[in-house]
């Protein structure tokens, strides 16, 4: 029995330009310090940054076998990721013992107490290919997509997850939640987490109290690369509409699941591969077929538009798109009129 998910009045949205992400994880820490310092969410990252090609976070997230949707958009049974092998346990450390052993003959060094199997950034910078011919990787920052048809909402037998009417932010009602984790299992993006102490689901709230004040989420505000744009999808003066609808360079991750993500990515261009003799070829280092496996067929026109506009700018011609992506005026990355603050609880 499917739920009727009412269309929100407006939909808040984010665009991330992958050509500018430097993998610094400032967004990760900005989010983590703000929202996820509880014992039960120690392992979780509402915002994470993956190195791709790679296993992602949680490991296997880009493998269609882990999500609760088929690549045709149908429902299939997903996987609840394991703490050790998929998320990575939040290791604890032995600083005190290490310091105490400074003068002792047997030195104890700072290291995780737990067995390390995986972590949120475990295959950082590993990538693929051979140096210097075609070695490549790029960073993919991820947060909840606040989908138009959220798999998590659909999965909850207790109807504890809902899209907010005002802005389409997807929220878990933790008073209703019984910690069954069907949402964790069903979301192919694996962006619902389980608080293993409070035994309820938790997820990105798109920094809702900030949005209500007209302030962009912490991950976006603190991004030193200025690669994030935040606004409403229907605002034709705003960056989201321009990048998604007008220029069509911002496209969703894994559109094949049919969930209608409201977070969009400007796909990465890459320098040329070298041939066997070491001469630059015309082929990009990051295989377009790989990008297609992430972003679908829309990646082709998006890359073409980017390359064409970049070439225009290089010829000294004007390009609204390039000016927007360069973010000369960073404040313009965010268009969020302040709203009445909702009193929760």
């Amino acid at each position: 029995m499917r739920y009727d998910i009412p269309k929100p009045l407006r939909q808040v949205s984010m665009v991330l330009d992958l050509n500018k992400c430097l993998g610094c994880q400032t967004c990760t820490i900005a989010c983590k310090k703000l929202w996820n310092t509880d014992e039960g969410t120690d392992y979780s990252y509402w915002n994470s940054v993956e190195t791709l090609p790679g296993r992602g976070f949680p490991a296997g997230v880009h493998d269609p076998a882990t999500g609760g949707r088929t690549v045709e958009g149908g429902v299939r049974r997903g996987v609840v990721p394991n703490l050790d092998t998929a998320y990575g346990r939040a290791w604890t450390f032995n600083h005190e013992e290490a310091r105490a052993s400074a003068g002792a003959p047997d030195k104890i060094w700072i290291r995780p107490r737990e067995t390390v199997k995986w972590g949120p950034n475990f295959d950082e910078d590993q990538g693929q290919g051979d140096y210097p011919k075609d070695n490549h990787y790029f960073y993919l920052p991820r947060l909840c997509n606040h989908c138009t048809h959220p798999a998590c909402v659909d999965a909850c037998p207790r109807a504890a997850i809902a899209k907010r009417r005002e802005d389409g932010i997807v929220l878990v009602d933790q008073d209703r939640c019984h910690g069954y984790r069907f949402c964790v299992e069903a979301c192919p993006y694996k962006k619902v987490y389980y608080d293993h102490v409070r035994q309820v689901s938790t997820k990105c709230i798109f920094c809702l109290p900030r949005i209500e004040e007209g302030v962009a989420p912490a991950c976006a505000r603190q991004c030193p690369g200025r690669l994030r744009f935040v606004g409403y999808r229907d605002d034709e003066q705003g960056p989201i509409w321009k990048l998604v609808e007008k220029w069509k360079v911002a496209i969703p991750l894994h559109p094949e699941y049919g969930l209608g993500p409201n977070v969009f990515y400007v796909p990465p261009m890459s320098p040329p591969k070298l041939d066997a003799e070491g001469r630059p070829t015309g082929e990009p280092r990051i295989p377009v077929s790989y990008l297609e496996s992430l972003f679908g067929a829309a990646v082709h026109p998006a890359l073409e538009a980017l390359l064409a506009e970049r070439a225009r700018r290089r010829r000294g011609e004007a390009s609204e798109l390039m000016d927007l992506l360069i973010a000369y005026d960073w404040q313009q990355n965010f268009r969020l009129p302040p709203r009445q603050r909702e009193v929760l609880g």
């Binding site: 703490l83 999965a155 909850c156 037998p157 207790r158 069954y180 069907f182």
Partner: protein, 180 residues
Amino acid sequence: MNRKILLMSAPVAMQPGGYVPVAYADRTTPVTAAAEIAVEPGSGGWRVTLAWACPQPVRETVRETDRFADACAVFAPEAPESPWMTMGAQGLAVQGFLWRADRPGLWAIRAEGLGTMQRSAATGTQVSADWDNGRWRVVLSLPEWPALAAQRRVALAVWRGGAQERAGLKSVSAGWVDVA
């Protein structure tokens, strides 16, 4: 009274939301085929004993994300017409007790249909649970239970955590079980 009850797989097709009915459509045979139940008057209340086979118990879920604890529940209708299969209906509640292997005490539960179950601390109750030789045996010492006293019947549910059972993924009695 000590009865062996054959269990059925709770029908997933009627579970709320679009995901569970499809993702778990294959769950047609009960994970736990049978349970024994004994409902006896105790000191000032009731003593309910449930026992069932469970080859690999799951007692601990702390600091894990993908573990589900073994559990069982017993509930009684508040009204004669309260339906068992949907956990009651609006105005026709069911109520009872829920034990989960990773918690010390019991929850009192009350529901008026699927997805509406409310859990609260079950005051005045005691529970002892033992797993031995492939079987759980759970003894609930309960205070006065007006619904049971009035309707004289219960339904029961068993969850095997090792098979990822939780919520509507469970083995249940095929209807109310009369209590003598």
